[in-house]
């Protein structure tokens, strides 16, 4: 039973890591179609905290997860970019009330890494403005640790930092950027596979972001830093998980987040923070609902020493 409850924990932790696909200036919680210049690299680091509780069941579950996904982006050509996402699970902890009393089970370590490519299919440029559409596709490799244990023994499969399965995802992202504002949107699908009898449900997702430059109000000469007010939104539908050939009735469903945030974009770095607040959570059974997610991070633009 606890095994199934842990499923929701991993869904939340996965939600922490994959959206960190974007490494350019742009939205904070998902990918962008802005370019990675040829033979240039961008590093992105992020710290994310998820808090979930309000469990109506006697188990009175309470979840805290802190993750630090890192992203490396590399421009193969001006239209083709490769991304690697390595989520380091700093800590994830689940408290559950059992007949033996309150039990805490936690894990720490690297999560599964994701690798994907993005191709700029459409690019319409004007002075001080760009409109781009860029499909992306990739996979998640089971690089995370999946043999963690605590004082109660080996942790069940779901709370392990790694899922153990090879999973694929694809989608497309759109960016319309002007000097004063930027609009981004994406949509996609994640295909999750089975490993040792357990399979997370597939997921479809859609995101949108609006960024408005609040400082400087008037552009001076050169390249001033931009301070953006950010409002993003994320919708995800996930089908039910399967364990041992049976469908878990307490998994999957809809989640919709609204995310106010702020972002400072300079020439060589970006600083950003966002709070993801649940607007609607239509989850199946007694799946654990998210209270909030907080993300804060940086991006650093670096240059490889050869042309």
């Amino acid at each position: 039973m606890i095994d199934h409850r842990f499923t929701r924990l991993v869904i939340l932790v996965a939600a922490l890591s994959l959206p960190c696909g974007a490494a350019l200036a742009g939205p904070i919680t998902f990918n962008t179609a802005l370019p990675v210049p040829e033979n240039q690299g961008i590093i992105r680091g992020q710290a994310a905290v998820v808090r979930a509780g309000d469990d109506p069941s006697p188990a009175d579950r309470s979840l805290t997860a802190v993750a630090a996904p890192s992203v490396l982006a590399y421009g193969v050509t001006s239209r083709v970019a490769l991304f690697a996402v390595v989520p380091f699970i700093v800590h994830k902890s689940l408290d559950v009330t059992t007949p033996m009393g309150r039990v805490n089970r936690s894990a720490t370590g690297f999560g599964d890494s994701s690798f994907f490519g993005r191709y700029t299919l459409l690019q319409v440029d004007r002075p001080g403005a760009t409109f781009r559409i860029a499909p992306f596709a990739g996979f998640k490799a089971p690089t995370g640790e999946d043999g963690e244990s605590d004082r109660l023994g080996r942790l069940p499969r779901p709370p392990q930092p790694g899922s153990g399965s090879w999973d694929g995802f694809l989608g497309s992202t759109l960016t319309w950027q002007k000097l004063a504002w930027e609009v981004d949107a994406d949509g996609g699908y994640r295909f999750n596979n089975r490993d040792e009898g357990f399979e997370f449900g597939d997921a479809a997702f859609a995101d949108a972001s609006f960024q408005y430059r609040i400082w400087p109000r008037e552009l001076g000469p050169g390249v001033p830093g931009f301070l953006y007010a950010v409002l993003e939104t994320n919708v995800e539908w996930r089908e039910k998980d399967r364990a041992g050939g049976r469908v878990d009735a307490n998994s999957g469903g809809w989640r919709w987040f609204v995310d106010p945030g702020i972002q400072y974009v300079a020439k060589r770095y970006v600083l950003e923070a966002v709070v993801q607040l649940p607007a609607v959570q239509e989850l199946h059974g007694n799946a654990l609902e998210t209270d909030y997610q907080v993300r804060a991070g940086f991006r650093w633009n670096f240059w490889l020493p050869y042309p």
Binding site: L24, A25, L34, P35, V36, P37, E38, N39, Q40, G75, T77, S78, R79, T120, Q123, D125, R126, P127, G128, A129, T130, Q177, K178, L179, E182, L219, G220, P221, G222, V223, P224, G225, F226, V265, A266, K267, R268, V270, R299, N301, W303, P307
Partner: protein, 113 residues
């Protein structure tokens, strides 16, 4: 019949003119000095840095200044530099943007994409 011949003559003349124009190499740009290139599609500081670094890879470029509000990049050349307009345009493209007009030191528009 005369009308057909006239159209054929004009078409052939246009094709030959186009072929000659493409075959003749562009005149060499003057060495040294500055060049200002209009960059389309650049709308944030983080993107501007990528362009700056790409333009600095050009042999003979001593400095690059970006003006985001004007959508322009100004290149300063070392003495004896022979960087061509096409090389500048190529680096703008490699940065992920679309090159526009290029003005050399005497504010003369050399070429427009």
């Amino acid at each position: 019949v005369l009308r057909v011949r006239k159209i054929a003559f004009l078409s052939i003349t246009a094709l030959v003119t186009l072929a000659i124009a493409r075959a003749v190499p562009a005149a060499a740009d003057p060495p040294g000095g500055k060049a200002v290139v209009t960059v389309q599609g650049m709308a944030c500081p983080f993107c501007a840095y990528g362009l700056e670094k790409r333009l600095k890879t050009l042999d003979g470029v001593s400095d690059v200044q970006i003006d985001l509000g004007k959508s322009e990049a100004t290149l300063e050349f070392r003495e004896g530099s022979t960087v061509s307009d096409e090389e500048i345009r190529q680096e703008v493209r490699r940065a992920g943007f679309t090159p526009g007009a290029i003005r050399r030191a005497r504010d003369q528009v050399n070429e427009r994409d």
